[in-house]
Subunit: 158 residues, 2 copies
């Protein structure tokens, strides 16, 4: 019985420590994805076109509200260049949801954004809403954006 008890305790230890290790790996993966989400915000909010586009996978897409989707670096660059012409551009976002697959190759971040800019007449326009981003781990270990979508919380104008 002593040997059996030892075996059972040993097995329980393996199961628990395995679960802890797995949970830790998952948590580390989520931390790395959250860091990518916030590193992207930093260059995006700074209207740094080259670095913003560099966060996209080669086949990445932007799915913007009230416009057609843009797929691939060239189309994404054109869309972002247009967005970055907005005056007094202020953008921030905060992830509410962060998840990574067990295999660590696919993940998502999503949450809320706050945005403001000035229109051609100098009037401040504000918006707040939600975003959802699907990320793919690259061969070099970095996270890149496969799909990025957002929409407003504000009622549509009548």
């Amino acid at each position: 019985m002593g040997a059996l008890r030892t075996a059972v305790i040993g097995l329980a230890f393996l199961v628990v420590s395995g679960a802890v290790t797995y949970g830790q790996a998952r948590s580390n993966a989520e931390d790395s994805l959250r860091a990518a989400d916030q590193a992207w915000l930093k260059v995006y909010a700074a209207k740094d076109l080259e670095r913003t586009v560099a966060f996209f996978d080669e086949q990445g897409s932007v799915l913007p509200a009230n416009q057609r989707a843009a797929t691939g670096k060239k189309a994404v660059t054109e869309l972002m260049r247009e967005e970055f012409t907005l005056q007094d551009y202020k953008l921030t976002w905060t992830p509410t949801w962060v998840g990574v697959a067990a295999s660590g190759d696919l993940g998502y971040t999503g949450g809320s954004y706050d945005f403001s800019c000035k229109d051609a007449s100098g009037k401040t326009i504000t918006d707040k809403g939600k975003y959802l981003t699907v990320w793919k781990k690259q061969a070099d270990g970095s996270w890149k954006v496969l799909l990025d979508m957002s929409n407003s919380d504000l009622p549509a104008p009548a």
Copy 2:
């Protein structure tokens, strides 16, 4: 040299067949997710509230355009019930992007939708746009919706 050649050929066979098996598993996983996306459309387009909500993970969220996000079965049910009161409700969607993690526990579908309904005055309203859905494989092997977002391709009213 004969043995080496045999070993090299054998190794190449293992690598190729391993890649084929992996590719096949990935493709099967994507097929199962595409099938879930289309099975969901079927009950959604039929305004079957119970079956539509049953596709959500317990912590699933809808991120609708021009409204706040709804998280959890209760809030999702209320949102969907409201949507299904629309008259002459016609909805279809087609996935353009389908992807599943190597571990098979997380995936996404996204693509285009077409929608129409009648407003209170009986006037037909049409919309077309994009959707993005993040899915989580459940313990029973079914896919459930973690996050579901959409936005319009049409310009916002001025």
